[in-house]
Symmetry: C2
Subunit: 331 residues, 2 copies
DNA sequence: CTTAAGAAAGGAACCGGTTCCAAAAAGGCG
DNA sequence: CGCCTTTTTGGAACCGGTTCCTTTCTTAAG
């Protein structure tokens, strides 16, 4: 491995001169050329460790994700990665497998590695998180979750769910099951449920029941089966697309036709929702864009610039075949 | 930030003694205790850069993936991550967005960062790859693709496709469309096609046509539509689950019933294939396990141990509702 | 009680960069 | 041409560890 000392010797100059050449200090044209030649010949690349050791920081942005095998995470990561790459930064991913402790550990671990910033795709923010945020003194941005004390990029869960609620009512549904997730997850568990609740609450002669399940399709399938048996709604509004897929499967197994016998909606806009049959009515989130924005904001934070506390990303309600329209029938 | 010098001063010993304490040299019980106390008090953690600078290597394993938003990649990464974490290693992911050049770049970039090893989830191995492998002098393991000169963990694509071919014949299909991908992808494009071909080639009075598409569901949908119109097969055998999802959608759009009017099979065993209706007959690969194995082998390579050139992972043909059985009809 | 061997601790060099400061060279102006 | 300013360059210290070598202190054997 060639070092800066080798280059200096070969070019007949001092180490400091080479360093200046590399980092843009003042150099005479003659020496510049000499060094240039030697570097090109040897293919010299500075040692990152030595640089970081001296600089006490890196141009790495750490990203903490609860799971890798999720459409939302993957798309967000892609957005972050693209943006950081453009800025010459590296992204390092830490997967926590939905283990809260590991989430905290990852924060400290990133801090030890002197990352320039941390982007956190958390599901909830505990006191431990806040403590870590304080201690590590590194810029932090939350994606998909919100907290008053932390910068965050969030999807408009409340508004999207409200739009979904309105949409469902417009389609004429009056016996509705809402299949959500744990309220520990602020965005998915609470915001979406509340948005939906507020949309349907004004409607008279409308029966809405709220249920809860996990994030997996298997559990959603079981829960939906029970809902169909016990409540017989005309529609199941699901808090995520995966849950909706489980609900669809439950309907198929029960021999129900979607949307004639039962309508289903999702949340997220996963690619696959377009390709199942019937296509799923869902809310499409801008995961990749959220990642991009997060990365952009992070770069600003690293530069010491001010940014807004909260940035919202857009959503789009995509109406597709999985929802029956009673209104149409009445025409 | 506390450094080893601080600890040494506070404990009243020399830097080297603290270093020895940390790395397990010979130390007296009294000094050991003193150092221990100070370190616990300060929460001191050694600076990774300084360590790596001296050691000229890291305990990081780089992983290069063509895309993050793929079930196969994600599961493999999870397997790698889990295994490495157990061994106290870190995994760093480099996403190439299916850009071949960036794949090569990533290799060199990892080399510069002195990673201990590189796990490559490539789709094809070019001369540029081989050149990079040679130059960087870092252990490399391929996952999902095979090359005579490189260690690899591979799925039994040929055998799996052969099993699928037999299965399809057993079900009584005799007018078969095989929808594959580019032969540039050895595993998916060639191995699967050839395995299937060899399985069906012996069968008389059996018409098989081979088609090609991209990895996306959208393109698969288009291709499958054309196949249905032009060839009217009783089954479309697809080289991946995503392609199968596109094919299913094409059938639905055409108003064909799956499996009565058209059967469809996939490859991969993505979770969603179980939850669509009808469930998709597919080959389930052990992606996560492949990742685990890759990580284990990598750890061995790093330790300087010998490993086998090629390791095969298992597959399982899962017969589900998307394939009609003509044999049954004849009973 | 002496001596040799082994354990424990300290000191200094080194890893490969960056940066500060001083010295040398170049340029500008009267 | 000499003096002052500015630009280039070199030298040395430093970042925070590890490691080699040396010294000192124990301890066991003779």
């Amino acid at each position: 491995m060639t070092t800066i000392a080798d280059i200096a010797r070969m070019a007949g100059v001092a180490k400091s001169t080479v360093s200046r050449y590399l980092n843009g200090g003042s150099i005479g044209d003659a020496t510049k050329l000499k060094i240039e030649r030697v570097i090109n010949e040897t293919g010299y690349v500075p040692n990152t460790f030595a640089q970081s050791l001296k600089a006490k920081k890196t141009s790495i942005v750490g990203t903490v994700v609860p799971r890798l095998d999720s459409f939302a995470s993957a798309r967000t990561l892609i957005g972050i990665d693209e943006q950081l790459r453009e800025a010459g930064c590296q992204m390092v991913i830490s997967n926590t497998s939905q283990d809260e402790e590991r989430e905290i550990e990852s924060l400290y671990s990133f801090a030890r590695q002197k990352v320039a910033g941390i982007i956190l795709l958390a599901t909830k923010i505990t006191d431990q998180h806040l403590e870590a945020f304080e201690k590590i003194e590194i810029p932090i941005i939350l994606v998909g979750q919100q907290h008053q004390d932390v910068y965050s990029i969030i999807h408009q869960d409340y508004e999207a769910a409200k739009a979904m609620g309105k949409h469902v009512l417009e389609k004429g549904h009056r016996k509705i099951a809402y299949l959500g997730v744990t309220p520990k997850d602020i965005s998915v568990g609470i915001q979406r449920r509340d948005g939906f609740k507020d949309a349907v609450s004004g409607m008279e002669e409308c029966e809405v029941k709220y249920y809860q399940t996990g994030f997996g399709m298997g559990e959603a399938l079981e829960q939906a089966t029970r809902i169909i048996e016990d409540f017989q709604p005309s529609i199941i509004v699901c808090a995520t697309d995966n849950i909706a897929l489980g609900a669809c499967k439950a309907a198929f197994i029960k021999g129900l036709d979607i949307p004639k016998d039962l309508s289903v909606t999702g949340f997220g806009g996963y690619e696959v929702t377009e390709y199942i049959h019937p296509s799923l009515t869902t809310v499409k989130y801008e995961f990749k864009n959220a990642g991009k924005i997060a990365a952009q904001k992070m770069l600003k934070l690293i530069e010491g610039e001010q940014i807004e506390k909260i940035t919202y990303t857009n959503f789009e309600l995509i109406s597709r075949g999985s929802v029956d329209s009673f209104i149409k029938h009445e025409l």
